[in-house]
């Protein structure tokens, strides 16, 4: 075999390798984003967030909503339910219903959903299916099943802390099933730390003081949420102040409260180490009791 022939063969091989790499990259990107071609991304309604997400959340994908403290569960549930309400309204080819699967550990101090509150929040309680398995394994199985169901608009999997069993393999399985079916799969992690997972995005939700109410001097105004996009596989992260409008079922940007010392957007993200992957092999800290966490946080804020 002559040298030129050998070179041609090498070129062909190189070309093929490049093609494979491109393919693999596409596949990886598709995995991270969900099947972007198949389903329309779910826009939140707030322009800056949607821009950062390149159109919105990927529907056939897994997303994590996290709250650091037990008492933050109201805000975190508010964000997750808002997303679910939007997914329901988007009504992609006859999808209906939201399945809410909860790990039994969350019932201890988390409370339960209140139908009257859901209605006022813009979510029809009759579209909710509540699944309460007896143990975490059953809950994970139920979440897997729901994520793989074609007829479903959204799945919310409420979990407490960072149980060792719900590891990166479990989240990847959940993500794959959601990608196959096109369900918006949300992990609602209550009083949990950040942990590596297969989720396309991870959000931390904090409450924010409401704006002034025009009609009532000391009244409680419209709710606001301080959202931190801690991790985004497909793009940038960020922090925003959002309000939920139940009437049109849409998030929109809210002006910061004058008394609040936080400024949306301008200040650096709360976690400067956002881009570093969180460890996957953390030992099992199965969600410390809410009280203890609360007290620690309380001291931190007072000082």
């Amino acid at each position: 075999m002559s040298l030129s022939r050998l070179q041609t063969a090498t070129d062909i091989l190189k070309q093929r390798t490049r093609a494979y790499e491109a393919q693999a990259y596409q596949a990886h990107r598709g995995m991270a984003l969900g099947d972007a071609g198949a389903s329309q991304p779910l826009a939140l309604g707030a322009s800056a967030v949607d821009h950062c997400l390149e159109g919105g959340l990927v529907c056939g994908g897994l997303h994590e909503v996290r709250s650091a403290l037990a008492r933050d569960i109201g805000a975190a549930a508010g964000f997750a339910l808002g997303l679910a309400a939007r997914a329901l309204e988007a009504d992609r080819s006859g999808r209906s219903g939201v399945v809410w699967v909860s790990d039994p550990a969350t019932r201890v101090d988390g409370g339960g959903l209140f139908p009257a509150g859901l209605t006022q929040y813009g979510l029809d309680p009759s579209s909710m299916t509540i699944v309460e398995p007896g143990d975490l394994q059953g809950a994970m199985w139920a979440a897997d099943e729901a994520a793989g169901c074609n007829g479903l608009a959204a799945l919310i999997f409420q979990i407490k802390g960072n149980p060792a069993r719900f590891d990166i393999t479990a989240t990847r399985r959940l993500m794959m099933r959601a990608r196959g079916s096109g369900v918006l799969a949300l992990i609602l992690r209550q009083s949990g730390e950040e942990e590596a997972s297969a989720a396309a995005t991870r959000w931390r939700v904090n409450t924010e003081m409401s704006g002034a109410d025009d009609s009532l001097e000391r009244g409680v105004g419209a709710m606001r949420l301080s959202l931190t996009l801690e991790r985004n596989r497909a793009g940038r992260t960020g922090q925003w102040l959002l309000a939920w409008n139940p009437k049109v079922r849409s998030f929109n940007h809210a002006a910061p409260h004058p008394a609040s010392n936080r400024v949306s957007g301008a200040n650096p993200p709360a976690h400067s180490l956002d881009r570093l992957p969180a460890p996957a092999n953390r030992r099992d800290s199965s969600g410390q009791m809410g009280q203890v966490l609360d007290r620690r946080q309380d001291f931190g804020r007072v000082s």
């Binding site: 508010g78 139908p115 006022q120 029809d124």
Partner: protein
């Protein structure tokens, strides 16, 4: 009796007419001279080492029900002997019409039944006859095991009158006038007998002789369809069982199609070699006619069992019963593509509910239902979807939820998260009815920045009685932006002098 020479004779005692008497005994006790209805003290005088047990009717009945369940391997029509006279008489009726040929004829069936029951340690007396009455009499007082067709009347005539399922008092008084056998009264004029001893006597006679129809009431509702498979070699492995389920399910699809039905509830019965019978039920949200889905539901059901299906030495009969079926709505009614897609999506949702229910338990998959009350924690409940009607099952038409009058609005007055039990807090608030200023909940202090209220929710005196208190609800926001729903329990001065505060919910 020789098998266990060292164990003492066993008797069962009960209080009859203010004396502890023997109501059942084993062969060894009989051999040592103990008789039925003897008082226990007499029996003890004869045999001091008597092993006696108090009669336990409930356990007896439970055991009999289990045997009846096992007997369903021969016929679906198995009934308990429910005659009031047969209180202590543990009998079963089986209607084997159309079943005997499946087991090689009547004689083979009876022999099989007896051999299997004996192997389980039961002493049985069997008789096969044209009428339940005749079979009852012959099993207890006759010799023959199979009475030929039409021969039941001659067979029962020589038997004692006790064979007619009559109260003992009536048998005794008939005996006093010299009527000892069934034949004695069969030939007598009916009217005087009926006038003297009641219509019951004539009815029992007619039932035994086949002049009057008698229906038995099976313990299990008879399945609409049923298929089964028997094994010469018992199956034990999960995969084998799974294969059998698939084969059985495939077998019922065709009959379902022929009848235009779809399966709603079916029951799998696994007959273990040692006589134990396991049941597994699955339900579907809408009529189903898919063998693969049926198999999958049962696999989920088996996977969801707390301990695995205990196969023991294996199952030698597996049966699939269609307990309930509904008309199957064919797909041809919805021709439009969009409708089809919607239908498929809904099917996906319903199938999900079925699968979740099959594995986790039906009561763990729930939907909200509303109650007509203003007390928040009572205003709603969660009901298993399987127990809701088919109509309210589908998302849109939930009749119970139509109660909610409020449309989503700008002002939110109800929290997203509600605590099942309101949690007690320490609170500083203005008296008599001002909003809270500071409070301590779950060990953390909060300062109130904004509040709205009170929203007064009166107590339900018709339910809670006199001591019930009014609740004043407040929406409260603290300095960090947490929004709470809390209430003061009791009106200051009127209902209590020291109202307690409770945390009840969290807003978004």
């Amino acid at each position: 009796m020789d098998a266990y020479p060292e164990t003492p004779p066993v008797v069962v005692t009960d209080t009859v007419k203010n004396a502890i008497r023997i109501v059942a005994l084993d062969e060894r006790a009989r051999a040592r001279g103990i008789r039925l209805n003897q008082t226990l003290s007499d029996a003890r005088a004869l045999v001091p080492d008597l092993d006696c047990h108090a009669a336990d009717d409930e356990s007896n009945r439970a055991l009999l029900l289990k045997i009846a369940g096992w007997c369903e391997r021969y016929t679906p029509l198995v009934a308990l002997d429910a005659a009031p006279e047969a209180e202590r008489d543990h009998g079963l009726f089986m209607d084997i019409t159309g079943c005997a040929h499946l087991l090689g004829g009547e004689a083979a069936m009876i022999a099989d039944l007896e051999a299997r029951l004996r192997a389980q340690g039961f002493h049985v007396r069997l008789c096969l006859a044209d009428t339940p009455g005749a079979a009852w009499a012959m099993a207890r007082y006759g010799q023959d095991r199979i009475i030929a067709e039409g021969a039941h009347a001659e067979a029962v005539l020589p038997l004692s009158l006790s064979g007619l399922r009559l109260p003992p008092a009536m048998v005794a008084s008939l005996g006093r006038v010299g009527l000892k056998t069934i034949g004695c009264i069969a030939g007598m004029p009916r009217a005087p007998l009926a006038a003297r001893f009641g219509a019951r006597l004539m009815q029992r006679l007619d039932q035994a002789l086949g002049r009057e129809e008698e229906a038995i009431s099976p313990i299990m509702p008879v399945a609409e369809l049923s298929t089964e498979r028997r094994f010469a070699e018992p199956v034990t492995h999960q995969e084998e069982i799974s294969h059998v389920i698939a084969a059985l399910a495939a077998g019922i699809i065709e009959p379902l199609e022929r009848r235009g039905l779809g399966l709603r509830r079916c029951r799998l019965r696994l007959f273990r070699v040692d006589g134990h019978v396991s049941h597994l039920d699955v339900q579907t949200a809408r009529p189903l006619r898919d063998a693969k889905m049926i198999r999958r539901l049962f696999e989920e059901r088996i996977a969801g069992l707390h301990d695995d299906l205990d196969a023991g030495f294996g199952f030698d009969l597996i049966r699939l019963d269609v307990v309930h079926a509904d008309p199957f709505e064919g797909a041809q009614t919805e021709m439009m593509a969009e409708m089809m897609a919607h239908h498929a999506a809904e099917q996906g949702h319903d199938a999900l509910v079925d699968r979740l229910g099959a594995r986790l338990g039906l009561d763990r998959v729930q939907r909200f239902v509303l109650a007509d009350t203003h007390i928040p924690e009572r205003s709603f409940g969660r009901q298993p979807i399987a127990h809701l009607g088919a109509r309210s099952r589908s998302g849109s038409g939930n009749a119970a939820l139509a109660l909610i009058p409020e449309a989503p609005g700008e002002i939110i007055t109800r929290p997203l998260i509600l605590f099942d039990r309101p949690e007690l807090m320490q609170t500083i608030a203005e008296v008599p009815d001002g909003p809270p200023l500071k409070f301590r909940w779950r060990g953390v202090s909060y300062e109130v920045a904004r509040s709205e209220g009170p929203e007064r929710i009166a107590c339900e005196w018709w339910r809670d009685g006199r001591g019930a208190r009014t609740r004043d609800y407040f929406r409260v926001e603290d300095r960090q932006g947490y929004r709470f729903w809390m209430f003061r329990h009791g009106l200051y001065g009127r209902e209590t002098s020291d109202p307690a505060w409770y945390m009840h919910g969290l807003f978004a």
